[in-house]
Every structure is written in structure tokens, then in C-alpha cells.
Symmetry: C2
Subunit: 219 residues, 2 copies
DNA sequence: ATATGTGAATTGATTCACAGCG
DNA sequence: CGCTGTGAATCAATTCACATAT
């Protein structure tokens, strides 16, 4: 079977949930596909199509209940349970993430912090103590960790990803600016700010350069 | 005219450039679409199609020169000049970014750090001193800043984005987990780790929940 | 009356097969 | 002969129009 929800839609469902949370906090009780599309930066058509891939949540003539749609999207996204998460790589970024205060709001709980550097092992990181990476498999087993932040340098990313996969982690959030290869059944999401900068660079000036100039490819 | 390079392709061009840099560092001189696709996590077909959108860089029978393709992709992406960048929002994340050592490798230079909090103004951030956000327009004008990292809390993101646009910034890298609306001509790229976690949550368990259950939408 | 849910139409992206160049 | 560059074919995503439910 094809994925139940297309990848492009999945990204937007996350956005809709975000908008719904804002609307809920503002006390709004109902929302139309029109307004939801507006706030999410897409069209009402798109909102309805996206929501249709996972159920029928609206009321014809009066739109969607903010509370119901919020709850149903959480269910679809698997955000009804708590997800224990580990951080691998306790450099500056890993430390900043360990200090991030409100994972709890989002159903994620930090359960482990790992590094291979003896200088870092034993260090405090948020409410945790940094452990050596060799303790990861036991932590995955004993603490039910299924996702990890990969916050090591690009040069170490593939090796660390291999260790994560071997330890049984099923989802990796890769902050390193490099492609990592994993076995089937393991999911990787990239968080790539350097790539974002480079895409901005293209948008801001790159395309002015004509793409027609021919080049000596042996040069 | 439609964009010269489709958005999906743009993301992959960034990846190809990354692979090329690794290959170059390893001393490899030529690469085939097959190997480039393999390393970039896509197909040889896709590589050739993507590269064809911006020029003809290869040699039939012998593949691509790593050095030439690296140089040409940089040109296409606009990475031949230096891009001055500002950070708006000097919380933990803004500070971590200000300390990031090797923007220089990627043709980006940090030129300003801004916040509205009087506690933060005057503070050191990397090699810079944090200035009040009201000084942003002058900095944009005088220092040629065209891109900014938006690293404020979600609740402040839209207001800060408005200030960035008013100041003349043309590209925003939005780290806040919220949708921001900007005028035409301003480009936003999202760097969204919470969204990444939520997409992982779906992939790891969300889709097991049947999407067929009907719900009372007035509930 | 109003706004959803959904088949149909359109647009865009990916895959393929092979022509064309080195 | 090998591998790129590219039109054609397939597949997916988006847009639209409207029937349908409240």
C-alpha cells in the first residue's frame, strides 16, 4: 500500500495542528477551511484535500471544531503518547537542545544525552548527565527510546547514525549538513539550516545568473 | 516565467554540492550521475534531470568533473559572493548560532545580532555585540544585510518578521515553530525541528491508527 | 445559505528509454 | 563502448467545480 498520507500533506498537517493550537489558545471554537488555509499559508482546497486523507472531521455549513480537529490531528500524527528522545552529540547544538525547556508541551521527553568525547561524558545537560555512546543500546532497550537528535559534526554523522540504527532507534532527526544512509524501516528527517541559507542564496540572487552559459566540463 | 529551478530540485542541488565538496576533499576528480545519485540518496536519472535544469556540465562517456560541477553549482546557487547575515533573537538558539564557527566555509558572514530585551543588548555574541532591534534598519542599509536568522519565540515571530521586512531584509530563515506571512519578494525558509519530530512521530506510529474511524465533528 | 468532501482536470515531478556525444 | 542529456510516459500533487450535508 502507498503511504496513507503523502509526504507533502504530512508537513502541512503539522502546520495545521500548530494553527489550531494558536486558535485554541485564543479561545476560537470553530474554523473554516478558508481561514485555516489562510493562516497556514495555503489554500482552502488544499486544507480540505489534506484533511480528507485521514478522515472526515468537519461539518458542512459550519466548518471544523478547533478542539476536535486538534485532537484528531494529534491522533493521526501519533501525538497521543509520550515519545522518549535521546541526543547524540553534545556539542553546542546538542547542549542547546538539552536545555530546551518545553518538549513536554509537544509530547516529547528527553531521556538520554550521549557523546564519545571523554571530556563531555559526565557533564550535566539540562536535567540529564551525558553518557558515553556505548551505553546507547542499553538505554534504547531499557528506556524505550525510539527517536534521536543527531547533533554530531558532519564528518561523524554516518558513523553515529550506524550506531543509532544498531541500537534500535527507528527515527533520526539529522541536524548535520550531510546525507546519511540507514536501513529500511528507519526514518530520517533533516533539520538543515545551512541548506536553508543556500536555498535563500539561490532565491535572492542565484537565479539571475543565466543557466545557459556553456562550460568546458573537462576544465 | 516559472521558476528556473523547481523547488524540489533546488533542495537536491544543495545536497549534490555537499557531496561534491566531500568528494573534492577526498581527492576524487570525476563522478558519474550514478555515484552522485547513490551518495545523495536519489537516482542517477534524477541527478541528470536536476542538473539539466541549470546547464550542461558533464562529459558523455566520462561523467562530471568534481571541481567544475562544484563551481557551477555554487554559481547557480549564488554562492560566489559573500552574504552578510543578521540574527534576530538572542536566546539560547541565537547565541548558539552566533558561536557557530564556520559560516565562512559557506560564504555567509555574521554581521549583526539583535534583540529587544535590554538585558541582552550590549552582551557579546560570538565576535559581535548585541544591538537593539531598532538599529536593524540602519544595519541593513549600511552593512548590506539581506538575510536574517529569525530565532525569537513563536509568539514574537510574526512581529519580528514584520520588522525584518520593513528594514529591507529579503530572505528569512525562520527557526520558530510558526507560520510567518511576508510581502511578495521576501523569501522564507523554515528550519523546524519540532515539526521534524512530529513527522517522525507519524512515521513511527501515527499511521497505524486507522484513518477510517468516523468522529462526531460537533464534539 | 453555507462550507465541507470528493471526483475530474490540470499541473508538476519523477521515471524511463534511448538518442547523441565523446 | 559508456555515460550524459532529453523527449516521452508515468506517477503524484494541486486546483477546481459541484454535489452533498447541516
Amino acid at each position: 500500500m502507498a503511504p496513507l498520507v503523502p509526504p507533502a500533506t504530512l508537513g502541512r498537517l503539522v502546520t495545521y495542528l500548530r494553527v489550531l493550537t494558536e486558535l485554541g489558545a485564543a479561545g476560537t471554537e470553530r474554523v473554516s477551511s478558508d481561514e485555516l488555509g489562510e493562516r497556514a499559508g495555503t489554500s482552502a482546497f488544499q486544507v480540505r484535500k489534506d484533511l480528507a486523507t485521514c478522515g472526515r472531521f468537519g461539518t458542512r455549513g459550519s466548518g471544523y471544531s478547533v478542539a476536535t480537529l486538534d485532537r484528531e490531528l494529534r491522533r493521526v500524527l501519533g501525538l497521543t503518547r509520550e515519545w522518549p528522545v535521546a541526543i547524540v552529540g553534545m556539542g553546542r547544538l546538542g547542549q542547546a537542545l538539552a536545555d530546551y525547556p518545553n518538549f513536554g508541551e509537544f509530547d516529547f521527553v528527553l531521556r538520554g544525552a550521549f557523546d564519545v568525547d571523554p571530556e563531555k561524558v559526565g557533564m550535566a545537560a539540562g536535567s540529564l548527565v551525558v553518557r558515553h555512546l556505548r551505553e546507547l543500546p542499553a538505554a534504547v532497550r531499557d528506556e524505550g527510546i525510539q527517536m534521536a537528535f543527531l547533533t554530531v559534526p558532519a564528518s561523524a554523522a554516518q558513523d553515529a547514525a550506524d550506531e543509532l540504527v544498531a541500537a534500535g532507534v527507528r527515527g533520526i532527526l539529522n541536524f548535520a549538513p550531510s546525507v546519511i544512509h540507514v536501513s529500511d524501516g528507519v526514518r530520517v528527517e533533516g533539520v538543515d539550516f545551512l541548506g536553508g541559507l543556500q536555498r535563500l542564496s539561490f532565491a535572492l540572487g542565484g537565479q539571475l545568473t543565466l543557466a545557459s552559459r556553456q562550460v568546458d566540463p573537462m576544465a
